[in-house]
């Protein structure tokens, strides 16, 4: 299904992201991490951070928080053909507990490619920029979503 062109032009609202100690510990535990910088405030401070350090992919939890902020549910993808093909994070400042970030999603790229077995594949890149209270850039996340080509129609 072709993407709705109005979604591509839309400005998605800014959202707030408060980085909590408990959530950092929960995330680090789910990954099986052992480094105390994610669990113990004293250890984090000894390592030079103001508070517990978030693991590198931590901001991922914000993608599903609010449909209004996130372009993905509005893209009109067929969920059976949707893939998360690529993911990128750029880190500009350490992310630690107690920070309050503001994030915003933008669709930065939308292209079509011929599928290997015919039909069109659609690639969309959603960029999320997170800034801190001083307006400084903390992280940029880029998600590449792919809608694979529709399967050939079954003969009747």
């Amino acid at each position: 299904m072709p993407l709705d062109p109005t979604v591509l032009e839309r400005e998605f609202p800014e959202f707030e992201f408060n980085v909590e100690r408990g959530k950092i510990r929960e995330f680090a535990m789910a990954l099986g991490l052992k480094d105390p910088v994610h669990f113990d405030v004293e250890a984090a401070r000894a390592a030079g951070y103001d508070d517990l350090l978030a693991p590198p992919t931590f901001t991922r939890q914000f993608w599903h928080e609010n449909d209004e902020n996130d372009p993905m549910p509005h893209l009109g993808y067929d969920p059976k053909r949707r893939l998360h093909g690529e993911q990128e994070f750029e880190y500009h400042k350490p992310l630690v507990a107690g920070m309050s970030l503001r994030g915003r999603n933008v669709i930065v790229s939308n292209r079509e490619k011929e599928g290997r077995r015919g039909g069109k594949m659609i690639f969309v890149v959603i960029e999320t920029r997170f800034v801190d209270e001083g307006g400084e850039l903390v992280q940029v996340a880029r998600r590449t979503l792919i809608e694979t080509a529709a399967p050939p129609k079954e003969s009747e």
């Binding site: 099986g32 994610h38 390592a47 693991p55 590198p56 059976k80 998360h84 690529e86 993911q87 880190y91």
Partner: protein, 133 residues
């Protein structure tokens, strides 16, 4: 930590993927897609059973660079999701330094990284950059 081009990053072997880890990761990440912890849903989508979140493999690769260079020194992570991870799979994380370059007066290591399963199949691969000083 200091590395030179051609050096390998210390390998990490994760515990076998267990359903409880997928449930914990679903809660921690907010990704409640049922194919990651409900077998019935997974089978109805043509899978043998539940599969791990792709982003869990990426998070593991973040662990690889953080532990090789020091937590918080990762500057960039970029991956392609290439294969599915099933329950019981043992994921090994490995990487190698392709290049060391100077950026803003600091030494930056550019690495190839990958997560492979017990059969040697690459499930997630990509590139990482980390500060060495």
């Amino acid at each position: 930590m200091s590395y030179r081009a051609g050096d390998r990053l210390p390998e990490i072997v994760k515990d076998p993927i267990a359903k409880v880890q997928l449930v914990m990761y679903a809660g921690a990440s907010g990704d409640f897609n049922l194919i990651h912890f409900d077998d019935e849903t997974a089978r109805s989508r043509g899978l043998k059973g539940v599969i791990a979140h792709g982003m869990l493999s990426m998070a593991f690769l973040g662990q690889l660079t953080d532990s090789a260079f020091g937590a918080g020194r990762t500057r960039r992570l970029e991956v392609n999701f290439r294969g599915m991870v099933n329950l019981g799979d043992v994921i090994t994380l490995r990487g190698a330094v392709d290049e060391v370059r100077e950026e803003r007066g600091r030494a930056l290591a550019v690495c190839s990284i990958e997560a492979v399963n017990q059969e040697g199949g690459v499930v997630t691969s990509g590139q990482a950059e980390a500060w060495m000083d």
